[in-house]
């Protein structure tokens, strides 16, 4: 009875060894090893760094620590993709990806950077975080002001021509063709002027911006040439009407010339205010 029992146990044991052996040898062959050294920013070894090796497929993590020489080692890792994160006091946490092949030994040395961060400087998060939306707003503003600038420069030409042609349009000896040329140039100027103004007025405003520098003069002068550009054509139409009737320009219409000159001068000064450093 006893010998039968021994025989049975021996048979089971032998069978168990036969069944288990191939699995054990396969596991040994499949298990990958990951090792390396953790260093600081100046190359010094970092002891007691916590290394977390996370299998990307299963989410299972293996945790090891670096020794006094900064060396860490994790064995019996299943082949696959891993995310390795290394954390240590006074350093920034480093995260790297690694692919381990079956049975391979992989070396991954990790250099930690200094623990200094923008947060450690005391800047509020609102100041350090960017905004793509705000950038798009700035881009749109710049684009519109560039168009404003270019159109503004081009407008200066018909404006100057209008002022010059005005000197031939108002006198007693002038012809109606001189007046028509002046009216045409004036109309072109007005059209271009208001298009130019639109691009400045409609350009997005940036919150919290305090106006300073020459742009203040540029904006202040708009309060002269802006109303001037409305008033001048009205006065001009009155003067034209009086002239067409053979009358001498009189009353408020006689202010057309001076108002036009002041408007053009303010406009020229506005151009110079942002072009030349005073």
């Amino acid at each position: 009875m006893h010998s039968q029992r021994v025989k049975f146990v021996s048979t089971i044991a032998v069978l168990a060894i036969f069944v288990a052996l191939p699995h054990a040898s396969r596991a040994q062959a499949a298990g990958a090893t990951l090792s390396g050294t953790v260093t600081g920013p100046s190359g010094q070894v970092v002891a007691n760094a916590k290394i977390s090796i996370k299998n990307a497929a299963t989410g299972q993590s293996t945790e090891v620590e670096s020794d006094t020489a900064g060396v860490y080692r994790a064995s019996n890792l299943a082949p696959g993709n891993y995310e390795v994160s290394v954390a240590a006091d006074s350093f920034s946490t480093a995260t790297q990806s690694v692919t381990l092949a079956a049975g391979a030994s992989h070396t991954l040395n990790v250099a930690l950077s200094s623990g200094l961060s923008l947060g450690s400087l005391g800047f509020p998060q609102s100041e350090t975080q960017g905004s793509a939306q705000e950038q798009a707003r700035l881009n749109r503003r710049t684009h519109m002001l560039k168009v404003h600038q270019t159109l503004g420069l081009i407008t200066a030409a018909p404006m100057l021509a209008t002022v010059i042609s005005g000197t031939f349009a108002g006198g007693r000896a002038t012809s109606s063709s001189n007046r028509d040329l002046h009216v045409g140039l004036g109309s072109l100027t007005a059209g271009m002027y208001f298009t130019t103004a639109y691009f400045a007025i409609a350009a997005p405003k940036i919150k919290g911006t305090k106006t300073r520098g020459p742009i203040r003069l540029h904006k202040a002068l708009a309060w002269i040439h802006g109303p001037g550009m409305i008033l001048t054509p009205i006065l001009g139409a009155m003067a034209y009407s009086q002239k067409s009737k053979g009358e001498k320009v009189h009353g408020i219409a006689s202010a057309h010339g001076p108002v036009g000159v002041v408007t053009a001068a303010a406009y020229g000064l506005a151009l110079l205010s942002v072009s030349i450093k005073f």
Binding site: G40, S42, S114, L116, F123, G130, V274
Partner: protein, 180 residues
């Protein structure tokens, strides 16, 4: 009793080694860029930089940062234009990192390798000379970083359709104080 005494001496000593050996704090600074245009020359100045330095095993790491919008050229329109071309709303900080041997932080000239993050780009400037002067316990660093617009892939801003020069040297004047 002797064990307690030994522990009382060793524990604080160990924590000192674990922490930074020494630290530097930026006390005050003037950082300015210079830009040139045929009709203008202007400087954008910021006093808003903050900085910190940490020294471990004789090596010091420094981090200095300033908001891009803190640079003032005396003209709000120009500053907004600069903010736009430097993508300052999307990347609001200019960040400088450098590493120096602690032994070199003394009066004289020190050469530093700088890593500058600005406008969404990172540029390296090698061996930039800085003058170091000692004022009591404080250290004053002055120098110029030879930055260009192309270093940071910045399209040059224009005035009257004429672009500014590519060179925008950055002048740095910083006062640091050391402490544990």
């Amino acid at each position: 009793m002797r064990k307690t005494l030994l522990l009382a001496i060793l524990v604080p000593a160990f924590s000192l080694f674990a922490a930074a050996d020494s630290q530097w704090m930026l006390q005050s600074s003037t950082i300015s860029y210079s830009a040139s245009h045929p009709l203008h020359h202007f400087d954008g100045v910021s006093h808003a930089a903050r900085g910190k330095g940490e020294c471990h095993s004789g090596e010091c790491q420094f981090l200095i940062a300033a908001p891009v919008k803190s640079f003032n050229s005396g003209d709000s329109n120009r500053d907004l234009h600069m903010l736009q071309v430097t993508r300052g709303a999307q990347f609001p900080m200019v960040v400088v990192r450098t590493q120096l041997p602690e032994s070199e932080i003394k009066p004289g000239t020190v050469h530093a390798d700088l890593q500058v993050q600005f406008a969404g780009q990172t540029a390296e400037f090698k061996q930039i000379p800085f003058q170091v002067a000692e004022h009591g316990k404080d250290i004053q660093l002055t120098g110029t970083i030879p930055a260009t617009l192309t270093d940071f892939k910045i399209a040059p801003p224009t005035l009257l359709t004429i672009p500014i020069k590519n060179e925008i040297p950055v002048h740095v004047d910083m006062t640091w104080s050391s402490g544990q």
